[in-house]
Amino acid sequence: MRQTAQLVTATTALALVLTACSGSGDEGSGDASTITVAYQKTDSFFQLHDLLVKSKAEFEEANPGMTIELEPIASQETDYFTKLALMNGSPDTAPDIIYEDTFQVRPDAAAGYLLPMDEYLAEWEDWDQFPEGIREAGKGDDGSIYGVSMGTDTRGVYYNKEIFEQAGLPTDWQPENWDDLLDAARTVKANVPDVIPMNVYSSKAQGEATSMQGFEMLLYGTDDTLYDAEQGKWIVGSQGFEDSLSFLKTLQDEDLAPNLEDALDTNLPNRVSGELLPQGRLAIAIDGSWVPGGWMAGDNAWPEWEEVMGMAAMPTQNGQAPGSTSMSGGWLLSIGANAPDPQAAFDFIALTLNEENSFKFATENSQIAARDDVASNPDYVAFNPSFEFFSSLVPNTNFRPATPDYAQISNNIQVAAESVITGQATPEQAAATYDEAVTRVVGDDMVTEAG
């Protein structure tokens, strides 16, 4: 009798488990009247959320029966990419509209996560407002467009004029080369001891910020770059790579950078813009053009920033032509490959990026506007005093290599930078490790020696 009872219990349990498994397939985003939107939202990046809340209301009013489901992902950038990739891993959880970084478009398109948008764009009259260079940002390896740009950005050097004054440095400052940057940091350290002289992101925890705002701002000011676009090969063994790492090492060795604990903090980008700069605890920061957006409104509003913060172009290593450098990226809105109603998803993107809404986002988030009609709007230029400066960096700006391998190579840049600032490798060793890693990622025939 007893074993019959056991048998029954066990079989029931098995049946329950199996039913539970098979049941999970029914939910998910199969519903054609609901459009899910996945995007990033943090305490210093809320502008996109505000924009989507507005366009959601507009869209739902214009399309009765349709629902926009906002799925904010409250993570720092590196975790955001991981979560997106995991959501995209299954058609059940894949979002219909995705907020994508430009460098993720190619790999994600190659992975089959994104939908080519060409046929929808062809019928969108506003598409003419997007200049050719901006359109390129959404291009996949197959030449199709996989995303509509929300705007672009540049990067430069922020400095705190009050600290500079205390340190006896000029408040109208434009460093001519890397030594000028280091000298200013040294002067700050000597004269204003409680302040962190300079921040250049350089650890894995900060992810792409380390690659782009940090390392590449240095590297693209040397005679070398990451990638030889003509040959289509990645550059290894370059002096510029080693020199850029040496710059980071100098900052750390001379205590000109945040202490290691802060340098390795995932939240450092938020802390730089929301805490360290506004509180006058950081003198010089290499960072992106969007930073003032967080000072204009929101939790970290800081109206005095216009008087306190100075902005300078990032100098090249020895002042070589063109004298300054910058990096540009930007984000896009893409459609998930499994969106049940791609036309509706595209309509929502078109509404979110129409002139009025683009203006709202470009001004509030300090973007370099993607649309011509917004960029030429006098209200846009007048909205934020930093726009003019950061737009002036565009002629000398650089873009990340547009290949699907960039994401992995960027990780290896972060590994190299962190190993140098933690003293685990010399710049020479770290550069050699990077060279090996790059060769492993792309293969022997896709790398070329610098020369």
Partner: protein
Amino acid sequence: MTSLALDGRGRRDPGRSPGSRRVAQALLRSSPLLPAVVLLVLFLAGPIVYSLYGSLTNASLTGPRAADPEFIGLQNYEQLFANPQFWKSVVLTLVFVIASALIGQNLLGMGLALLMKTAHGPVRAVVSTIVVVSWVLPEIVAAFALYAFFASDGTLNIMLGWLGIEGQAWLVVTPMLAVIVANVWRGTAFSMMVYSAALAEVPPEISEAAEIDGASGWQRFTRITLPMIRRSISTNLMLTTLQTLGVFTLIWVMTAGGPGVESSTLPVLAYQEAFKFAQVGYGTAIATVTLVLGGLFAIVYIKALKPEVD
């Protein structure tokens, strides 16, 4: 079970040999286990086999290899074994397991259990409550508490400040020490409870008899108590080792494997390669190595302590 056995003995089937009958009987008797076996195969062996297969591909979170991963044989393992960072992680994992689980949790747990045995009621209650609290905390909460303890403006440095000692950034300067202490703090309660239960089972007569024969306290402990609780020790060693081998949250929250790779044990390395650097196949290979390492530890314990022999 008994009714089945009697049934079998009562009937004689001349057409079948006794051997095949015994097999059929054994099969019939174990049939109630079938659902459990199916579940184990489905949910335990299945994922392991799948992860073994995954480690032989170049699957990725994004890029062309996410759409159709290729079978690349043992390439991930070749790459892994040629990577000095991997060997460093193996050493760090061994250090972490031996220092925090084998030595820290077990010795401290045994010590506490012995002390508790002789302690007075209220002392025992207070001590066991304090120890168990660290174990009751969810891992993420414990990890945050320990991060707050070791951070450079954290509890430890503030307390050192009261004594006039200037602390340091423990998580950066001595990351392994910090995570080892953290894991000992968190896991000792488990060993203590296992050993307390085991010690309570040792009959006092034997110890008393040995005492009359003139055995010292240490002799009684090593010659009588330890052999009698051998099986509990073996089980406990195995459990703490495997738990520690899999510790991820604690290290990830406290140091994220850093600075650099100074506290990247194998689970941290696997997570980083698979989910941060998007190389799922490569990360899976690391996870598989961790699995093998756990198996090796288990075999050593079973061989060394022979729990089944009395």
